[in-house]
């Protein structure tokens, strides 16, 4: 089955990036579809963003917002993100990936969704796809330097996983360059 550390990575990545809340061991039954009422807690997320220290020692520069304010996430996408997060929490990474793909079908130019898919793939051990998906996220994330920095962070991690130390280093450099912007 899925090794625990991987699912933990995904859990962290999803939680911190999406909601900024800590990982919990919420119980979730996969056989039910996502809770799709707008009253779902997902809609309250933006307030919590950026308040919690992300994983891997990476510190968000103060005052930077990760997600551009004008971009409205349709409630359907918010609900699916919420669902994916729960699935990743439960260690069901394939299910989380499927939910994210479903969200991408609805909002295919949303760089946040691609970033999450990248982090799930990384947690699953697919470092190659993780890097490609993170690049895709970056291509759609013009002006969103914080998200770009996270993507480079993820790419660095993916390259380290594959034993590409110098590639990881150059990704780190890209990340640092973005952080100073």
């Amino acid at each position: 089955m899925i090794p625990i550390p991987y699912s933990r990575i995904a859990c962290l990545a999803l939680f911190v990036i999406v909601s900024g809340t800590a990982c919990t061991t919420a119980t979730y039954h996969r056989t039910q579809s996502p809770v799709i009422d707008q009253s779902a807690p997902a809609s309250e997320r933006p307030a919590a963003r950026g308040e919690v220290a992300p994983p891997g020692g990476y510190q968000e520069p103060p005052g930077v917002q990760v997600y551009p304010a004008p971009r409205q996430q349709p409630p359907a996408v918010v609900a699916l993100l919420d669902h994916a997060e729960q699935q990743a929490n439960n260690g069901d990474l394939p299910a989380a990936a499927m939910t994210l793909e479903r969200a991408i079908r609805i909002d295919s130019r949303n760089p946040v969704l691609w970033h999450h898919l990248a982090s799930v793939r990384l947690a699953e051990g697919d470092a190659i796809q993780a890097e490609q998906l993170a690049k895709k996220s970056n291509a759609l994330a013009a002006g969103n330097y914080a998200l770009q920095a996270r993507n480079w962070d993820l790419i660095a991690e993916a390259r380290r996983t594959r034993g590409d130390a110098s590639g990881a280093q150059s990704a780190e450099q890209q990340k640092r360059a973005l952080q100073t912007r």
């Binding site: 996969r30 056989t31 039910q32 579809s33 996502p34 799709i36 009422d37 707008q38 009253s39 779902a40 349709p74 409630p75 359907a76 918010v78 609900a79 699916l80 394939p94 299910a95 990936a97 499927m98 939910t99 793909e101 479903r102 991408i104 079908r105 609805i106 295919s108 130019r109 898919l117 796809q129 490609q132 998906l133 690049k135 895709k136 970056n138 291509a139 759609l140 994330a141 013009a142 002006g143 770009q148």
Partner: protein
């Protein structure tokens, strides 16, 4: 023989004891034989029952429609989707699969469905649409907004085994009790008490048959009927009867009543659809009523039960009177046996048969798409698994897009034939529609004839592509911003290229004229051959080939100079792959027709995840898309806007081959990409260019589909500058004809154009370009 017997009689007394000992072994052998025979039948019975009982065809589903606020969807499109899902229009929905519509407001109860990622529960929802968009989706009970509801998917086809058996398996607990009760009441009311055979019933039936001198009554129990369906041919011989009885007893010996009943419900023969036989109540329900068993009413159960006696004699479609009488007889028996009340029966009798007019088609509705699905499946499964294991295949097909595409293709080719005085049926066409970012195939047309399952031109017709290939040349150039930008002037003057083997090549333009120095973006937009050939030779044919491979063209390509003008044969699917990579900003995604495959029991077998590969510089892809938008606005594709709304953003390229043999158009909007080919199967001239043929099909399709979202998202490495197209220099002020063009940062020209030198700042944007790129 007789002599031998006489001789034997003479010796008989002496041999009497010997003869007894002679018969004994024979009897013993007979007993052994019988035992072995019964054991053999027993083995057969158990093997059939325990093992794989039925070969189940694979079911192929379209993409499920997901309802959420903001989804572009017209009321008619929703209506069409619900109709193809066989939702029943009612005044007030009470059960899953029912819908009421009041203009732009739909109230429906969705069906429960198990998807590859979990179960979608049944929901009672209201959908409000306005201006071609879903405005709100609300839960009827609570009045709260529902952010996302997934409908059940349209079944678009099945992959049958060669003997054309079809089934929709049902579990006993899922079968509505009235149906089971009716069946037992009519066919075998002693079912729960006998041991497989009911001698009294047989005697009664025999007596009735003797009196009538024909077979009017069957005394078979459900168990015997099952055995007959299961193991034996339909011949009426005594041996078969005996075998049937033995096997029925054996079946009852080994298995519970409910197991036998469940097998019966799935096995009984209930109709014929061409060469497809309809077995089991699950499939019969779809075949006759186009609804799942759980949604039928008592009169419909009675009709199905009545069919057991003779599916062709009582066929409700061909013999409605007989079928009605039979149904009412079943209802009477149900009253007698206390299954329903007299009132219920009379109400049920007053109803029409309610059989769907159109038969559930045995032939698949979208053969070209299913062909693609099957080919993708063959990479992972054996043929017999595809046709017999009951796989549930979830595809990316969008039935709305597929219908519109088929309609647009056939209609437009008819018009073209009339306008060009060609006999009807001269032209053929094919094409593919996909999503851009996910690379999901929404529709495939393999022929202009919908439902035609022969030659799949979308996948197998390799035709010269002509100018459709040009974006690869420009992409190769624009990946070197130090040499090429959209404003770089290209020479469209006469060109003669001498190959190393001394052969010469002198390409010509479509209009047989040369256009002198032309900015790069207009050379592509106007599809100038000579400028493109020169550009291709400058960047190198090998580099162009490398770009084509990066775009997803896998086949080996010969490095002839004419390649850059499209002297290469590709299928519409390959061209689609190539454009998908450009349209998605340089990320190649292998085109997918399948999302997931589930086993018959719902266990996930395989998913086909979204994979991307950054294969082309996103900035260069952005520039090419810009040039292709100019092609639609001012270039070879400008007739698009004679019909399509001016705010629809379209990037696209026409393609025409020598003697007008092939007419191509590849174009994309913010959310969809479509490639269309039009030509003749005999490869003769069709007299159509890309813009007078394939483009019109594309235009008809997108006039129906519309487009949502903007075509280009912001790209980090791109900046816009105002340029004088005549010189390719900066025109921040002055220059009436200045255009805003994107540049890879740092590649923009520095010098001012002559017209910008002493001009005044512009008062207002002079053309649509400004609007376009705001």
């Amino acid at each position: 023989m007789a002599q031998r017997r006489k001789r034997g009689r003479k010796k008989s007394r002496a041999k009497k004891t010997q003869r007894r000992s002679f018969w004994l072994p024979i009897l013993a052998m007979l007993a052994v034989f019988l035992t072995v025979y019964i054991a053999y039948l027993d083995f057969q019975v158990r093997q059939q029952f325990d093992g794989k009982r039925w070969s189940l065809p694979a079911r192929v589903y379209a993409r499920p429609l997901e309802l959420y606020a903001g989804l572009p969807l017209t009321p008619d499109a929703l209506d069409m989707e619900l109709t193809s899902l066989h939702y029943q229009p009612v005044s007030s929905p009470r059960r899953p699969g029912e819908v009421s519509r009041n203009r732009n407001v739909f109230h429906l109860i969705t069906r429960r469905f198990v998807y590859w990622d979990g179960e979608e529960a049944s929901r009672d929802i209201r959908v409000n649409l306005s201006n071609g968009v879903i405005e709100r989706v609300t839960h009827v009970a609570s009045g709260k907004d529902a952010s996302l509801v997934r409908l059940d998917p349209v079944l678009v086809g099945s992959f049958y085994p060669s003997h054309n058996e079809d089934r929709v398996l049902v579990k006993l607990e899922d079968v509505p009790p009235p149906l089971v009760n009716a069946l037992i009441a009519v066919e075998d009311h002693g079912f729960y008490s006998h041991h497989g055979i009911a001698p009294l019933s047989i005697m009664r039936a025999l007596w009735a048959n003797i009196r009538a001198r024909e077979v009017v009554q069957g005394g078979s129990t459900l168990t015997q009927q099952l055995v007959k369906n299961f193991f034996l041919s339909s011949e009426r011989t005594l041996t078969r009867k005996v075998n049937e009885a033995i096997m029925a007893l054996l079946l009852e010996w080994h298995y519970e009543k409910d197991e036998i009943l469940e097998a019966y419900l799935n096995e009984v023969y209930l109709g014929q659809d061409g060469n497809r036989s309809i077995h089991g109540f699950g499939l019969a329900s779809h075949f006759y009523f186009e609804r799942p068993l759980s949604e039928l009413s008592v009169d419909q159960f009675a009709l199905l039960v009545g069919l057991v006696k003779g599916p062709s004699y009582y066929n409700p479609r061909t013999h409605p009177d007989r079928a009605t009488r039979r149904r009412n007889f079943v209802l009477d028996v149900m009253v007698e046996q206390g299954v329903i009340s007299r009132d219920e029966a009379s109400r049920a009798k007053s109803r029409g048969l309610g059989v769907s007019r159109v038969m559930n088609k045995a032939i698949d509705t979208f053969p070209a798409f299913l062909d693609m699905v099957r080919r993708q499946l063959r990479r992972d499964y054996r043929e017999e698994d595809i046709t017999s294991e009951g796989l549930r295949i979830f595809t990316t097909l969008d039935p709305q897009v597929q219908w519109q595409f088929e309609k647009a293709l056939d209609r437009r080719l008819g018009i073209l034939e009339r306008n060009h005085s060609m006999p009807g049926g001269t032209l053929e066409g094919a094409g593919v529609v996909t999503t851009i970012q996910g690379g999901e195939v929404l529709a495939v047309a393999g022929s202009r004839k919908p439902g035609f399952s022969g030659f799949n031109r979308a996948l197998d017709a390799n035709r010269q592509v002509g100018s459709v290939i040009k974006p690869a040349v420009y992409l190769t150039a624009l990946e070197h911003p130090e040499h090429y930008t959209l404003a770089t002037l290209l020479d469209d003057g006469p060109l003669t290229y001498t190959a190393p083997n001394r052969t010469t090549w002198s390409p010509n333009n479509y209009d047989r004229q040369f256009h002198g120095m032309t900015p790069l973006y207009l050379a592509l937009a106007n599809s100038y051959n000579v400028a493109t050939a020169r550009l291709g030779l400058d960047v190198g044919i090998k580099s162009v080939i490398a770009t084509l491979h990066d775009l997803g063209i896998d086949q080996p390509l010969n490095a002839y100079p004419s390649l850059v003008l499209g002297a290469v044969e590709l299928s519409p699917m390959q061209v689609t792959q190539m454009y998908q990579t450009i349209a998605s900003g340089g990320f190649q995604t292998p085109l997918r027709a399948i999302r997931a495959v589930l086993a018959a029991d719902g266990a996930p077998l395989q998913s086909y995840p979204l994979r991307v590969e950054a294969s082309i510089n996103p900035d260069a892809a952005y520039l090419v898309t810009t040039a292709l938008r100019y092609a639609s606005r001012v270039g070879t594709g400008r007739s698009l806007y004679q019909v399509l709304p001016s705010d629809m953003e379209i990037a696209g390229k026409t393609g025409t081959t020598d003697d007008m043999r092939d007419s191509w158009y590849a174009g994309y909007t913010g959310d969809r990409l479509a490639v269309v080919w039009v030509g003749r199967d005999d490869n003769k001239s069709s007299g159509l260019s890309g813009s007078s043929g394939a483009l019109l099909v594309w235009r008809d399709l997108f006039a129906r589909l519309g487009a949502s979202g903007s075509l280009q998202s912001d790209v980090e490495g791109i900046e816009y500058f105002r340029i004088d197209p005549a010189t390719g220099l900066r025109a921040e002020q002055g220059c009436e004809n200045g255009v805003e063009l994107p540049f890879i940062k740092g590649s923009e020209p520095v010098a001012d154009a002559p017209c910008a030198k002493d001009g005044l700042p512009l008062q207002k944007p002079v053309d649509w370009f400004k609007e376009l790129f705001q």
